[in-house]
Symmetry: C2
Subunit: 347 residues, 2 copies
């Protein structure tokens, strides 16, 4: 690999001059000399060595991203947002993927192994002189473990810490659920069944709050028996839809698309047409939501924006040493598709 020194030797100037010319320093060298140097560098396929430059400048313009699992459906889009924002601001990224699912078979959260891995990745990033780190969870949840010895700004994306030691960026489950419920109410629905997730889930609890709030707003009494609890998987949606349909709900709000997909099946078996006889809403905007007829109405979480905002927070902290330890919840987009219709049932 050809160096600046070599070019200096060949063109009979000092390394300083070469460096100046190649970095476009104003009035660095005589025009002729400059052109000669540039040409030479080009012909010799000169490439600056980032390591050397960063070492000397004590600046890498790099932020690190640690993902819990890059293959979990929401992660890439978040990374994409971080990446885009960094690029726009002249920062580079370094990605480290914990690969939690493949590594630990889905049984890892807040175990010593996980902590050790995290600490080692943090150390590795620090060693590489990143100037900030974004930690990307694979779903929104509370993380108990605080990484040790963090020396640069740190932001949590799509997850948050038990106590606000660092800022975090999430999306607003509660508002989204409220919006969906309102929309259903405005279409005339009063008996709105909910296929909730396990109450241990942050998402499930927040969405339920939103549902209750919207009902209360419209003076509709919430009925406990219209809320059933699934495990986020399709079969539970199929099973639980049965009990809700028995209770004559006119609409079902499933707290994720997978369970909603089970509702399609249950409805089909009963000869009920989704969007006409029964309205259905999901959550997540998974691929699957467009794979049914009629298409599933759903909630799209602002993944790209979560990434962007996380990066912005990091960058602004790096620049202004601003301290901010808050949670930020970004709004979701409600995607109304044909699975929702006017309530035809007499009240």
């Amino acid at each position: 690999m050809i160096t600046i020194k070599e070019i200096a030797r060949l063109s009979g100037v000092s390394t300083t001059t070469v460096s100046n010319v190649l970095n476009g320093k104003s009035g660095a060298a005589g025009k002729d000399k400059a052109r000669e140097i540039i040409e030479l560098a080009h012909n010799l396929q000169y490439m600056p060595n980032t390591l050397a430059r960063n070492l000397q400048q004590k600046k890498t313009n790099t932020i690190g991203i640690i993902t819990e699992d890059l293959t979990v459906f929401n992660t890439p889009e978040i990374v994409n947002g971080i990446d885009a924002c960094c690029e726009e601001n002249g920062y580079e990224i370094i990605l480290a993927n914990m690969r939690l699912f493949k590594r630990y078979n889905n049984d890892f959260t807040d175990t010593p192994k996980h902590h050790e891995l995290l600490d080692s990745m943090m150390r590795n990033m620090t060693a590489k002189q990143v100037e900030g780190i974004v930690y990307v969870g694979y779903h929104c949840r509370e993380i108990a473990y605080l990484p040790s010895r963090v020396q640069v700004p740190l932001v949590y994306a799509y997850c948050y810490l038990k106590e606000d030691h660092y800022p975090s960026v999430l999306f607003d489950d509660e508002k989204a659920a409220m919006d969906v419920t309102r929309l259903l109410i405005e279409k005339g629905h009063r008996r709105i069944g909910v296929i909730c997730g396990p109450m241990s889930s942050f998402h499930a609890r927040a969405r339920l709050r939103g549902y209750f709030k919207a009902l209360a707003e419209h003076q509709i009494k919430a009925k406990e028996d219209l809320i059933v609890y699934g495990d986020w998987e399709r079969p539970s949606g199929y099973r639980l839809a049965a009990s809700l349909l028995d209770k004559k709900v006119s609409a079902i709000f499933s707290f994720n698309d997978l369970m909603a997909s089970g509702v399609y099946e249950q409805a089909a078996e009963r000869g009920l047409q989704i969007g006409k006889d029964i309205s259905l809403f999901g959550f997540d905007n998974r691929d699957i939501s467009q794979g049914y007829s009629p298409q599933l109405s759903t909630v799209q979480p602002p993944l790209n924006e979560i990434g962007r905002l996380s990066a912005e927070i990091i960058i602004s902290r790096m620049k202004h040493r601003k301290i901010n330890k808050n949670k930020t919840a970004l709004p979701c987009t409600i995607l109304e598709r044909q699975s929702v219709g006017i309530c035809r049932r007499r009240l």
Copy 2:
């Protein structure tokens, strides 16, 4: 940030000794001194500076990954495979994401802009002293543009070059399609309809070859009117299924899951039960394939393995300067689910 020099000063030894101790060089220092140094380093939260180390060693143990678009469904799994293999071999990764879809609105392949972006990313990686690069396409296709001035081993994953200038790793479309067709034949199917993709697609052509070969093996005459051409999207599957069903096929092989999902709808409208009245196979193993009842049989491409092998090739090239410019096609896994049944039609 605390340096080795500082520790040397505080513990009254030379930087060399500190370096030796901290790197566990055998017999580096007296036990007491060594312990003292280690403790000091720990208390001061010493972190080695990777930049400095790599610069001095002229070695980064890093390979670069350039993805065309990280958010396209198959990419993360491939990256995961590369990452896993690198980790096992003591290499680090650097990821650069072209974000082609968001950047150019799906109209970019082999345009000057794309080339420029690629070249700039390659340069950037070279500047960072990566020792090899894996280029990850967003789907298997032929790439015409040869990056200029590549100075390290380069492998193409999930895509390939027009001419074999560099090795590439793909999956075996033809064999997978042959396996699927055989399986259907063995279940007694003779009139097997195909919902193909556009013939401009590498995948479509290869899968069609596999289909023909399997038929020929069993002396079944291929009928042109049983092959229809979609655009990979769901509506085309719905539409084209109609024409195949009119032609009384007993099985449909859709060349992707999305189009297969349209077949479900068409079949339902005609009161045909998938898996009984009509057998159905897809391709890709998308999430959606498990979102129907009965579940869709499909083909799972070896994404993780593509990643792993690409990394292995890079690493072995780096080590042994082995030259290999071949395409490698890895086998897919056939996932037989309930959408396939014995042919009940009299022949």
